[in-house]
């Protein structure tokens, strides 16, 4: 080796040892030898360079570069020093620099094989094809006997599309090769044939294949290539023969069938049908010849015939993806109808006679009906008939609750209707039924991300990640890109833009890694002779960023950057940090202190974590010191805090936008994003370019609207900046505008025209409104908003898809496109959109959404026992809330307990219960004493002793108490002679296994329990009784007896043989009025959120009072009013269950009352309810207003709530 600075023998030997150690990756040993040499020759260039190389492998990059540079400076004529420096540059991914270094090295040692090979690898990596060809030529000259030299040289021409030379080289080389039957020969021949076919030499290709038939081992590829060549040569009958054979090999390959059809030149549908019929007979197990006719047949009677056979076969067999198979037919209205009709008739017949139809001989097995239900659920989901779809899927689940797929479809139906939380719930159910199924696991975690449940998604995904590493790290390492993109979208929705960008950048890096990973294949594929695959791989890598994964991540990233450009983070944050305007100075101070503390804490924690990580790193470094193999340069860490505060957000877009423009220019979305970026950059020519691209592409309705928007926006902008542009630019723009806006209308006119033509789709409406606003913000704000809000769910002409509805709300509320607008406007838009998608979470109020989220969390199968996790959930919840509060600016939401709630404005009782609750924190005791207070005070005359006398003039008492903590209840009815009826009810709960004791036995029980017997008559109850007797015993609660109870006093006898229906109305207690008939119902929630409920009355007749129910996980409800009617509806239970399903207390009580008055329109009464967060509400009917009282921490006295009755 020529070196300007040769070492003496001893050191030269040491140097050789260094090289050997390096090759064997014994870096520490190598470094020892380096040290020995440098002791004597501290400036020896090559040794210094080697030191640099080794240091680079032990992760000391900076030092490595320093050494290598020093080495090079000391010995610029050494190929070793240049080579090493090149290797370092290559490891740092500076390929251009590396190539320069290699070239320098070759100057001093032009025939160094190793350097030439390294150079050729770099050249093919960066696709310097000419350079590659030259290097391969040199390598061939130096090593003409090696196979790789020839093939590499030929391939370099092939990649340059110089087929003649490539073929020539390959032919020459093949002449020298003895023909052998082995894999490598076979691959070489196939590669040679690939070049023939690409060169268009089909005759030669066919001849070549014929000649070498027995040497080509991949028979399938051989036949496919032959068929392809025959088609190209228009020898269709030969090609057809081959495709027949190929179909025999694989009768499920659609392409073969299509090609064969092409070869046979089938004229019309009849011929095609005949063709497929024949093949269906020949291949009884194949699906393709049965399905294809369904796609092309236009003759409906024939279609129905084929469909019938196809469906029967599929349902009997039980093919889960059947719906997916047939979805392609749904674009044809007639076919859709035919399918629906057919499957519905199957359903009917299978249910009744277990056959597809009366004339079928064979009975179907029970699974057939199951698959029919399953299909219908998906069918109606597709048609957006959510309720029908749910009916069918529930039917299926009831029929066979063990089939996992059913729960997935159920979740999907909810997802399509926008109820993301309910969707998560069912996917989680599916996942828990088969925890070994990775597909379901993936689906579940994806659904969670869609509902912004990032932590939960990670936890579910972690069931399939390696235990030793953190799931997020593992998923990153595995380049699990769908997960990262979905996470990014979730973070984006939650306003965590830094986190969102981090995930997008990770995806971008994965693509970079994939491109880097080619490196290993350049030498490997040559050596192993997998040449066709290698060329295909190179071509794939060339356009790898056209992959949908990249597109999705890039789109999200650009959208986030645009948002950060429009409203940078610091500003946004201030807005998020609570509405400070409404706070008093002292409160503000408190808040600020709190924030400071939080910040401090966060900082400390972060430092701690950093220290920990540092330690970990050091530890792992020590461990791996010997064998670290860090070829990749350490990448800059992606820090969310930094990412969300970019110096120039628009410039950051380039990393994502440029590849999209290069590889995904067929997507209109690409140019839409580009337009938005260039618009903000004030680049008219780039905007024009984007518009031109959009104009040249085929557009859907939505895309047409987007194009209209961009064009209008450009025109508006152009009229502003026109004067500032230089003349040539202006000329170009004007020229292009002639094509884009041929009639050169004003924006306003263009917009109106657009509106007239497209007013029946909401997506067009949105863009119209946007342009309207932009053209004159101050004047058109109200009109634009009105346009979006004034849509009617009953208008069948107007279709609003869920994503578009969502877009509208986001636009108005979150992005504030139409400027800041009144909360009422947002609210009315929200509720209007809700009428289109009634169960979509996003169109509910903040409070409702929070409840929906929480109730979803409760049913998830993953354990949420750890406190940290709980706080995480709260964090997610708070984030949801923060954003929503931020854009809806509507509701203040917090937990309101402890709280005491009471039907009717009996404030004394409320205050008593509150005092006890504060003292004891026992909700049961609180309810008991609150009701007792009322019994003692004889609230309203209808609670407690001496109230409403019964027919015998005696006052009897009813009460019920229920403890949410244990879900136990106790009650008494018709209790005589005991005053403290609620306490007796509690005794029933605590000292018996019963829940209800009645009448004298109840009294006896109470006496046993130590209650005092006393006369419950009170002066006015006696008086009342006498008045009642004198009034011919009116009001009267008897029915269907004689003498007529509405006119006379008893004794009465029953009337037999009644037509009960005619009595419907009479059964209502029409005498019930507010004064006559009250019950106290009470709900108490303590500081832990435990709930109790109680109710007490003397009633209007012998019955359990109004009813009360509590579920500690949900909330409680109780009723008052016409208890006899209430009992028939279990409204308290209904209210609690409705709250469980996400209704607010007000909605739930409202709903329950509606259910009652649907059947009993004259009902009088009210319901109150509280959910477990202490939110409360009430509804009533038959009165004008209903008042109830409650007390919380917020007030010093009981407050009165007032609701208007339905």
């Amino acid at each position: 080796m020529p070196s300007s600075n040769p070492l003496p023998t001893q050191e030269a030997n040491l140097f050789k040892k260094i090289l050997r150690c390096y090759e064997q990756k014994q870096y520490r040993k190598a470094l020892q030898h380096v040290k020995e040499i440098l002791k004597k020759f501290p400036d020896h260039g090559e040794t210094l360079s080697m030191k640099g190389l080794i240091l680079n492998y032990t992760n000391k990059k900076a030092e490595a570069f320093e050494c290598a540079q020093k080495g090079l400076k000391n010995d610029v004529r050494s190929h070793v020093c240049w080579h090493v420096y090149g290797l370092l540059q290559r490891a740092d991914r500076k390929y251009d620099e590396a190539i320069k270094c290699y070239r320098n090295a070759l100057r001093w040692d032009p025939e160094n094989l190793q350097i030439l090979r390294d150079l050729s690898l770099l050249q093919i990596q960066i696709r310097d094809l000419e350079g590659y060809r030259d290097t391969r030529y040199q390598l061939l000259q130096l090593r003409p006997t090696q196979r790789v030299s020839w093939i590499g040289y030929a391939m370099s021409y092939h990649l340059l599309n110089d087929y003649d030379i490539a073929n020539h080289i390959l032919e020459e080389f093949c002449k020298t090769q003895p023909k052998t039957v082995d894999f490598e020969m076979s691959e070489l021949l196939l590669y040679q044939n690939m070049v023939y076919q690409e060169a268009g030499l089909y005759e030669r290709s066919l001849k070549h294949l014929e000649e070498n038939k027995k040497y080509i081992l991949d028979k399938l590829r051989l036949e496919e290539k032959r068929a392809f060549a025959f088609i190209k040569l228009k020898k269709l009958s030969e090609a057809a023969k081959i495709y027949e054979d190929l179909i025999e090999r694989n009768p499920d390959n659609v392409t073969y069938f299509k090609k064969l059809e092409e070869c046979l030149n089938l004229e019309n549908d009849e011929e095609r049908l005949e063709f497929y019929k024949k093949h269906a007979e020949k291949y009884p197990r194949s699906d393709v010849p049965r399905k294809m006719p369904l796609v092309f047949l236009n003759n409906m009677s024939e279609f129905k015939l084929r469909l019938d056979a196809y469906l029967k076969r599929a349902f009997t067999k039980g093919i889960p993806p059947l719906f997916k198979e047939l979805k392609c037919l749904y674009t044809n209205e007639n076919k859709l109808k035919a399918i629906e009709e057919k499957v519905l008739s199957f359903e009917k017949n299978l249910e009744s006679i277990q056959k597809y139809s009366g004339d079928c001989e064979q009975k179907e097995s029970p699974t057939t009906l199951l698959w029919v239900y399953y299909y219908l659920a998906q069918h109606f989901d597709y048609l957006k008939q959510t309720n029908k779809a749910l009916d069918y899927i529930n039917k299926a689940i009831e029929y066979t609750p063990t089939l996992v797929e059913l729960y997935m479809v159920k979740g999907k139906i909810y997802k399509h209707a926008g109820d993301l939380y309910e969707a998560v719930r069912w996917l989680d159910e599916a996942q828990s039924l088969d925890t070994a199924d990775r597909f379901i696991n993936y689906k579940c975690s994806k659904y969670m991300l869609r509902a912004n449940m990032v932590k939960e998604a990670e936890e579910i995904a972690s069931k399939f990640t390696r235990e030793s590493s953190h799931p997020a790290d593992y998923l990153k390492e595995m380049q699990c890109m769908w997960y990262e993109t979905e996470s990014a979208n979730a973070y984006k929705r939650m306003g965590k833009f830094g986190e969102a960008l981090k995930k997008c950048h990770q995806v971008e890096r994965h693509f970079q890694e994939i491109i880097e990973d080619q490196f290993d294949f350049h030498s490997y594929c040559m050596r192993k002779m997998t040449l066709c695959s290698y060329v295909e791989m190179l071509r794939l890598e060339d356009k790898i960023k056209s992959h949908p994964f990249f597109f999705r991540a890039a789109k999200t990233a650009i959208e986030v950057y645009l948002r950060l450009h429009d409203r940078p983070m610091s500003e946004v944050e201030n807005e998020l940090n609570v509405n400070t305007e409404n706070l008093t100075p002292s409160e503000l101070k408190k808040l600020k202190n709190k924030q400071k503390k939080q910040q401090l804490k966060a900082q400390q924690e972060k430092e701690k974590q950093e220290q920990l990580e540092q330690k970990k790193k050091e530890l792992s470094k020590q461990k791996n010191k010997e064998d670290v193999d860090v070829e990749q340069p350490t990448e800059e860490e992606l820090l969310p805090e930094k990412l969300e505060r970019p110096e120039n957000a628009l410039e950051e877009c380039n990393r994502f936008l440029k590849p999209l423009e290069e590889f995904a220019s067929q997507h209109l979305e690409t140019h839409y994003l580009g337009f938005e970026v260039y618009y903000r950059k004030n680049r008219p020519l780039m905007m024009i370019k984007a518009l031109k691209k959009m104009n040249s592409l085929e557009r859907t309705v939505k895309q047409t609207a987007k194009f209209h928007y961009c064009l209008s926006k450009f025109l508006l902008k152009y009229s502003q900046i026109k004067e500032t542009l230089n003349e040539s630019v202006r000329a170009v723009v004007e020229n292009e505008l002639k094509n884009l806006n041929p009639s050169s209308e004003s924006v306003e006119k263009m917009n109106e025209k657009f509106f007239k033509e497209n007013s029946n789709t909401y997506e067009s409406l949105i863009e119209y409104a946007k342009v309207l606003y932009d053209s004159n913000p101050s004047q058109n704000q109200a009109k634009a908003l009105d346009l979006l809000t004034n849509v009617d769910a009953k208008n069948e002409k107007l279709s609003i898809s869920y994503p578009v509805a969502l877009e509208a709300l986001t636009l108005v509320a979150e992005a504030e496109y139409f400027g800041k607008c009144d909360a009422k406007v947002v609210e009315s838009l929200r509720s209007k959109l809700k009428s289109f998608y009634p169960i979509a979470n996003i169109f509910h109020t903040t409070e409702e959404q929070a409840n929906q989220l929480l109730s979803c969390m409760q049913v998830l199968s993953i354990n949420s026992s750890q406190v940290s996790e709980l706080t995480d959930k709260m964090e997610i919840l708070m984030n949801v809330l923060k954003i929503l509060v931020f854009f809806l600016k509507l509701v203040k939401f917090s937990s309101n307990y402890p709280i005491v709630l009471n039907t009717w404005p009996f404030t004394n009782a409320t205050n008593k219960a509150w005092d006890i609750l504060l003292k004891t924190d026992d909700p049961l005791k609180s309810v008991e004493s609150g009701c007792s207070e009322c019994e003692e005070l004889r609230c309203d005359g209808t609670v407690g002793y001496g109230g409403s006398p019964d027919e015998n003039g005696e006052t009897t008492l009813d009460a019920l108490i229920m403890d949410g903590r244990t879900h136990d209840a106790g009650s008494v009815a018709g209790l005589r002679r005991i005053k403290n009826v609620i306490s007796v009810a509690r005794a029933v709960m605590e000292h018996t296994k019963h829940t209800l004791l009645v009448g004298d036995l109840a009294t006896q029980f109470a006496i046993d329990m130590g209650f005092q017997q006393q006369d419950l008559h009170y002066f006015d109850s006696l008086e009342k009784y006498i008045i009642w007797l004198n009034n011919s015993c009116q009001p009267n609660f008897r029915l269907n007896v004689y003498p007529d109870p509405e006119k006379f006093c008893g004794p009465y006898k029953p009337i037999k043989n009644l037509n009960f229906l005619s009595n419907k109305e009479k059964r209502l207690n029409k005498y019930v009025s507010k004064k006559l008939h009250d019950t106290i119902g009470m709900i108490a929630i303590n500081s832990y959120g435990d709930i109790s409920v109680g109710t007490s009355t003397n009633g209007a007749s012998h019955k359990i009072p109004g009813g009360a129910y509590v579920d500690n996980d949900v909330g409680a409800a109780c009723g008052t009013g016409d208890g006899d009617t209430l009992m028939k509806f279990l409204p308290s239970y209904q209210v609690v269950e409705s709250m469980r399903r996400g209704m607010t207390p007000s909605e739930a009580t409202n709903d329950a009352i509606q259910r009652i008055i649907k059947k009993k329109p004259h009902f009088m009464g009210a319901l109150i309810a509280a959910d477990k967060y202490g939110n409360h509400g009430a509804s009533c009917h038959g009165l004008e207003y209903f008042e109830y009282s409650y007390r919380t921490n917020q007030s010093r006295d009981a407050e009165i709530g007032r609701v208007k009755c339905i």
Partner: protein, 155 residues
């Protein structure tokens, strides 16, 4: 087209058994029951009809009263899939297990006294009513149960 197979119960599909039992039996079993089922090996099986879980059996070895008996805790099949031989297959599996083992004195189980279909079913396999246990079930009516037993010849 019908196929019936038996499959193992694992930690991955145990919840399917739970779903099944919830609809098939009026009694609900606690978490411990399902935890223990995982250790039963061949004494617990799921039945698949056209690859869908529709039935299951869980037994345990009872060593009380100085005897070695097999006790069938649950054996059931979803309603729409009855009369297709699924119960028979499950019970045969249990009986074969006993036969192979050779050391069981008997196999027995409890049936609610009004469950005539079940009683008929077991009688076909040589089970006999040997005892009536009053108040056997706590939360369902009727609360009485028959003990059905099939003895094996040798002791």
């Amino acid at each position: 087209m019908q196929s019936i197979d038996l499959g193992d119960i694992t930690v991955h599909n145990i919840k399917q058994l739970k779903k099944l039992n919830q609809v098939v039996f009026p009694v609900s079993y606690n978490d411990k029951f399902y935890k223990d089922v995982l250790d039963l090996g061949p004494l617990a099986k799921l039945a698949y009809f056209n690859d869908i879980v529709v039935g299951g059996v869980c037994c345990r070895i009872d060593l009380t009263e100085n005897k070695r008996r097999l006790y069938i805790m649950t054996l059931g099949c979803l309603q729409p899939y009855r009369k297709y031989g699924i119960g028979r297959m499950l019970l045969n599996h249990v009986l074969n297990y006993c036969e192979k083992d050779g050391n069981f004195e008997s196999v027995y189980l409890h049936v609610q006294i009004n469950n005539e279909v079940a009683i008929e079913f077991y009688k076909k396999f040589g089970f006999e009513i040997v005892e009536k246990k009053e108040q056997y079930y706590k939360r369902i009516e009727p609360s009485d149960a028959f003990v059905l037993k099939k003895s094996f010849g040798k002791k």
